[in-house]
Symmetry: C2
Subunit: 129 residues, 2 copies
Amino acid sequence: MTFLDKLKFNADGLIPAIIQEQSTGRVLMMAWMNRESIQRSVDEGRTVLWSRSRQKYWVKGETSGHVQVIKDLAFDCDGDTLLIQVEQTGAACHEGYKSCFFRSIREKGNSVSVTEPQLAKPDEMYGKK
Amino acid sequence: MTFLDKLKFNADGLIPAIIQEQSTGRVLMMAWMNRESIQRSVDEGRTVLWSRSRQKYWVKGETSGHVQVIKDLAFDCDGDTLLIQVEQTGAACHEGYKSCFFRSIREKGNSVSVTEPQLAKPDEMYGKK
């Protein structure tokens, strides 16, 4: 896979990946990937991410069923960011919103608005803990 | 500005910002910001970025004229990424493309396609050096 050689990974061997819903253009989340998770994502056709907090691979949607089927994978001019277009099932955000970017600032940052409906409660998505 | 206290900056005091063209949904670039560049962006209504390579503030479009007028500023569930919707004049990419993500992979990464036209030559944007 030649394009991997064009990419620049950070000191931790990671690269940020912007995940966008192809059909609507909605930016869903930002995730981190390493060389192996990119390779697995390309091979499997779904996003396989690297969890920095848990230090392990994370097949997006494996628990919640909210998988991301990859439709396009682009990289930027500097080779240090990915843009992945997906078909998203359900909510991408662990808080139950379609997008993790469900809050926007108002009044020059003095207040914050929630800009989209909550599709599911987190305990419905993952089971109560 | 209260929302700044909800944000998590990395060890270098930076946070990644996804810049998206509001009218088309096209993701234009990923940039980095610090607390002051976010404050200046909000106050001035245009993107003021932090250049990691040059270690200085960078008013996007100051040299090329390709400014980004901010229409919306959102932040994600973890507070560690921004999504900024803009009105983009001309090309966002220093290589003369509308978007920095002008290359996508094909054949499972064995080849790469340029997916959009080059709007300007870099030496027309910045003057020959």
